[in-house]
């Protein structure tokens, strides 16, 4: 007797769960507003990307054309693909001290896998990912970018505070 009850329980329980699933998909079918697909080229003007989206590496500059990069090369060491190349130069301050300064920060977009290790390890928070994702260009050379703006300098700790 018990086995018959179990059989019927199995049967009606199964039908109930199947109907629950059908209800969910049926609800979605008659509610086109639930569609999550972004109609990309049409909604290009209004498209809002998420903050955490890793589009491309950028180095933010403030209004005085100053960045925070100290040319420590930790990002270059951590990059698994050799995407980043930090070229530094030695300069002399007024009091005769020698100082290492960023010359060019080269970022090869074509080799980047957007793992984000460079941003994570940067001690100065000098680089970050932007939301820009339309990277298509007609020339391969254009994928090699220089991130520091021409004539930019290091933001000193004092001015930052």
């Amino acid at each position: 007797m018990n086995s018959i009850i179990k059989y019927l329980k199995d049967l009606f329980g199964g039908i109930k769960t199947l109907l629950t699933g059908m209800m969910v998909t049926g609800y979605y079918f008659v509610h086109p507003k639930e569609i999550v697909t972004q109609q990309y080229p049409e909604n290009r003007k209004t498209l809002v990307m998420l903050d955490r989206f890793k589009g491309e590496l950028v180095m933010p500059h403030d209004e005085n054309n100053q960045h925070k990069c100290t040319a420590c090369s930790i990002c270059e060491i951590n990059c698994p693909n050799g995407t980043i190349e930090v070229i530094s130069k030695q300069t002399e301050t007024e009091d005769g001290k020698k100082k290492k300064e960023l010359d060019t920060y080269i970022y090869k977009l074509g080799m980047c896998t957007f793992c984000g290790l460079c941003v994570k390890v940067c001690p100065q928070d000098a680089i970050e990912f932007s939301n820009e994702f339309e990277h298509a260009v007609f020339d391969k050379e254009k994928l090699t970018k220089t991130l520091n703006h021409p004539g930019s300098s290091l933001k000193s700790k004092q001015t930052a505070q």
Partner: protein
């Protein structure tokens, strides 16, 4: 020429007489068969393209997507573009395949569905051939398709194809039983196997209403078993993409693949139209006994549209549960058939016999 959209018998008769007057009976028959063949070919192309589009759109909406929407307004020309692409694709030559069987298999599959559709009543007078054993005939020829699938799997000389074909064989052997028994339930109620008689008997009340509980159970079982018979999800073990690449049609390309694809959709159309004919009254308008004015309003809709509407509703149901449920394992598939559908079905036949015997049907 008397042409009425409600009754095409006179129209067909006038064509027949015109042919017989001008040709010998043999050639008249040949011309008639050619015309019907061409009409069905055109019908296949249109319905196949429409069903593929409908399936992609419906599954898109169910999965919170928009489906095809680039080619033409709402993507309506997407399937035509896909079809042209398939026609122009290379037929890849398989070195170690059994060439004769490999080339034969898609034709067997498509011919089986072609033979089945001949017996379907589309409307009053729109009925290619009306056998007195129509139900049995459709059952018999629609299960011929599995021979094509088995041949395709065997001749491809590919382990995935063979596994897919074997699964398909096991599946059809099991579920053929359920389809047959659920149709027998309806045959008990109607007392006839001739499809035109079955439709005529549903003039006042469709079988799913007049047979109430047993007819409804038979309808649900028929829907499940026919989905399994056409190798559609959640019973698509024969082509299970994630396990067997594409199952029995892994090695097929171009137009041969298109044949398998078209046959799958047309088989779905055929089983849906069988469900509509046997349970929902075929081309018969919806009548409620007693409400004369309501019945008259329903009669204004031509039979062909009634028929297509009902078939499309059944097809929508099949697509709905295809895109809801996950695929069954082979043991679950056989368990469902032998432990649940078959006992319920046998019980249901006894119930239907009792209902008919006691006169409890409407």
């Amino acid at each position: 020429m008397a042409f009425s959209i409600y009754d095409l018998t006179a129209f067909n008769q006038s064509i027949h007489e015109a042919l017989v007057q001008n040709l010998s009976p043999f050639w008249a028959l040949i011309v008639e068969m050619t015309i019907i063949g061409l009409v069905f070919l055109l019908f296949y192309a249109i319905v196949g393209l429409f069903l593929v589009y409908a399936e992609r759109k419906i599954c898109g909406f169910i999965q919170n997507r928009v489906g095809p929407n680039r080619v033409g307004p709402y993507g309506i020309f997407q399937t035509i573009a896909d079809f042209i692409k398939l026609l122009m694709k290379e037929l890849i030559y398989i070195k170690n395949a059994d060439k004769f069987l490999f080339n034969l298999a898609p034709f067997i599959v498509i011919i089986a569905s072609f033979m089945a559709i001949a017996a379907i009543p589309f409307g009053l007078g729109l009925h290619a051939i009306d056998f007195n054993i129509g139900v049995l005939y459709v059952m018999a020829v629609s299960s011929l398709g599995v021979i094509g699938i088995l041949l395709a799997g065997w001749s491809s000389n590919n382990k995935y194809s063979l596994i897919g074909a074997m699964r398909s064989g096991a599946q059809i052997v099991s579920y053929e039983l359920s389809i047959g028994l659920s149709l027998v339930t309806i045959v008990i109620l109607s007392g006839s196997m001739q499809l035109s008689t079955i439709v005529e008997q549903q003039r006042n009340c469709w079988f799913i209403f007049s047979g109430h509980i047993p007819a409804f159970i038979a309808f649900v079982i028929f829907l499940i078993a026919s989905t399994a018979e056409t190798n559609r999800g959640p019973f698509d073990l024969a082509e299970a993409e994630s396990e067997l690449t594409a199952g029995f049609h892994t090695e097929y390309s171009g137009i041969k693949f298109a044949f398998f694809f078209l046959a799958e959709y047309m088989n779905m159309f055929i089983v849906a139209s069988m469900a509509a004919t046997l349970f929902w009254g075929g081309w018969m308008p919806f009548h409620i006994p007693g409400l004369t004015s309501f019945n008259h309003v329903m009669d204004f809709i031509p039979p062909f549209f009634w028929y297509m509407g009902k078939t499309m509703v059944v097809i929508f149901l099949m697509m709905w549960f295809k895109w809801t449920f996950p695929r069954l394992r082979i043991d679950q598939l056989l368990k469902l058939e032998w432990k649940f559908l078959l006992p319920i079905n046998l019980f249901n036949i006894v119930l239907m016999a009792l209902v008919v015997l006691m006169g409890w049907h409407l």
